[in-house]
Symmetry: C2
């Protein structure tokens, strides 16, 4: 496993263990004004940790949750920046999960055509995924991440201590992206990562720092090669075509909501099955993937009626030819391809395979 | 004068005389969907010229004028794109003046984190200024171009025929930016351009194509060197510090509205006076500038009360030290510098100089 504390990837710094990188940046760049964007959760749980080391600054508080990731909240953020007379040399620090990072980054990237911003992700999911790769944006009338830009933060500070502010289930959810990064890019790490058990995660017994560093490096390498998702970057969608459909479906039903990683785990099992059916991975590989993911995330039950509603969601908003869809699938463990054409029927078989486990 | 029909600047093509560049682009890139954004003016006067040569497309019509250059209109544009199921390979064609180009470009640059767009400016002002250099954006709660991004169109098509759809006063307004480009970058062209008289412009007697090509090349060279206005690009603000303040002031008074170029002409006279006071240009240079600009734009009267209200506008929203402001001023005819510190008192003297002409 990697143990470096600071990764430097195309001018972006990832730091573990302390906040010196942040104070160094501020001392060097001397921003004219600073704002920290938080939601009410990170305001209570995380803000006090960084408050004292940041010189005079504004705090912009927004409501927590995906349902506030919209233009109205952006207008609120832009207005607060305007009221505080932020100029082009101001700095935004986004302290929170994916919603704060995506939306706060978008507001910074568009204020006066772009001011500097720093991401301080507070969830495992945003540490290993949302904070890396420059995707910024908001939802628009029900469409997820529909309005946005690609822009890179000046720093991404990874402080695993913030994970202590999360529920163990939230940490487990973020871990799904860690597993995904191993499956699509690093077979050796896939073998290594399986030493982590559900009990380790829920019991808070993991030293996350090397795990996070490894995961970020994989994502950063992919997004450096293809920042705007013309090709290679699509492999990061492994597990997400069926996974997102399941997540969206369950979101709409009281009492059945799944966390992102819980849905992506099902997506990875079903899409590994499709990889197996194409002859890309062996029966043993498939068994190993299913066994480990279920040991971490347990099984979720779906009825035929559920499946009938999930499948159209997976097909939605894509260029379909005869009910087929393009997805990222494993070429082998540690190697992922993209633009594999899969039919609705094959997806249904994959979900039934999951249910039969 | 330059007479090339096609200029190629860092992958952006400027075309005169025909629309082949547009049809070639569409044939080559095969966008999945196309929308033409117009306002009610360009819908009536310009759309019919390009309608037939563009394959199946949507038309998105917005209200004309700066007062609609806001988030509400963006939401309307994004919604129409969403309703038509535009994907990442859709194409936006912006047909209009600066408002359409800036706002339509911003909507394209942020829809699904950026789709391709083409600018077809229909005013002289947008042909020689707004369409070049990648500044996109909208106004926000009274602040001009407050929210936006830098992004380059795939093509900028210059069709001087559209100038026939404008009032002569609009053409004269755009001409101020042509004069500015000569003064800040090309002494030889400054001598040449003075052959154009007010009667030529108002009488529609100019062959605009070589004039526009020259002007675009100057702006494109500057913005290529400094796309995000960290330094050199500031010279494009020559005439605009005092000019913008006068434009804003007059906008608020019924019956005194000035077109952009009419205000910038006064800005160029007053800021040339300041360049002269610094010893950068000679008395003869100053006289020549004043004489030519007044021959084109005539004189506008201001009272002491007007001046007292204009000066604070010029100082507004800038980092002032003791009532001073930084502006772009001529080093000599054809050469412009930036970050010259000018006091409020000096600005007042400059406006009084203009009034005394």
């Amino acid at each position: 496993m990697m143990t470096k504390n600071i990764l430097h990837q195309k001018g972006i710094y990832f730091l573990s263990l302390d906040l010196k990188q942040l104070t160094d940046y501020i001392e060097e760049k001397k921003p004219t004004q600073i704002a920290v964007i938080v939601d009410s959760n990170t305001d209570s749980n995380c803000y006090h940790i960084i408050k004292k080391i940041i010189p005079f600054h504004q705090k912009i508080v927004i409501n927590p949750g995906e349902e506030f990731k919209n233009l109205n909240t952006c207008s609120h953020i832009w207005q607060e920046m305007t009221d505080a007379e932020f100029d082009r040399k101001a700095l935004i620090i986004n302290l929170g999960g994916g919603v704060i990072g995506d939306m706060g980054g978008f507001c910074a990237a568009t204020y006066k055509r772009g001011i500097d911003f720093i991401q301080i992700p507070t969830t495992l999911l945003s540490m290993v995924d949302a904070s890396v790769g420059g995707k910024l944006g908001i939802d628009f009338n029900g469409f997820k991440n529909h309005i946005g830009v690609f822009d890179l933060p000046k720093r991404v500070l990874i402080l695993p201590d913030f994970l202590k502010t999360l529920s163990p289930m939230e940490v487990r959810s973020g871990f799904a992206e860690v597993i995904k990064h191993c499956l699509i890019q690093d077979k050796a790490m896939w073998l290594e990562i399986q030493k982590i058990s559900q009990a380790d995660i829920l019991g808070g017994k993991i030293d996350w720092q090397p795990v996070i560093n490894h995961s970020i490096l994989i994502k950063a390498n992919v997004t450096d090669i293809d920042p705007t998702e013309k090709g290679l970057r699509k492999i990061l969608n492994f597990g997400h075509t069926i996974g997102h459909a399941i997540e969206t479906y369950c979101l709409g039903i009281v009492g059945r909501k799944l966390l992102h990683g819980e849905a992506i785990a099902i997506g990875m099992i079903t899409e590994s099955y499709l990889s197996f059916k194409l002859g890309n991975i062996s029966q043993d590989d498939l068994n190993q993937i299913c066994q480990y993911l279920i040991s971490i995330y347990s099984k979720v039950a779906f009825s035929q009626s559920d499946i009938d509603q999930i499948l159209p969601l997976a097909l939605q908003d894509k260029k379909n030819v005869g009910g087929a869809i393009k997805m990222a699938l494993l070429n082998s463990i540690g190697d992922c391809g993209y633009d594999f054409e899969i039919s609705k029927k094959e997806m249904e078989q994959a979900i039934n395979f999951y249910l039969g486990l």
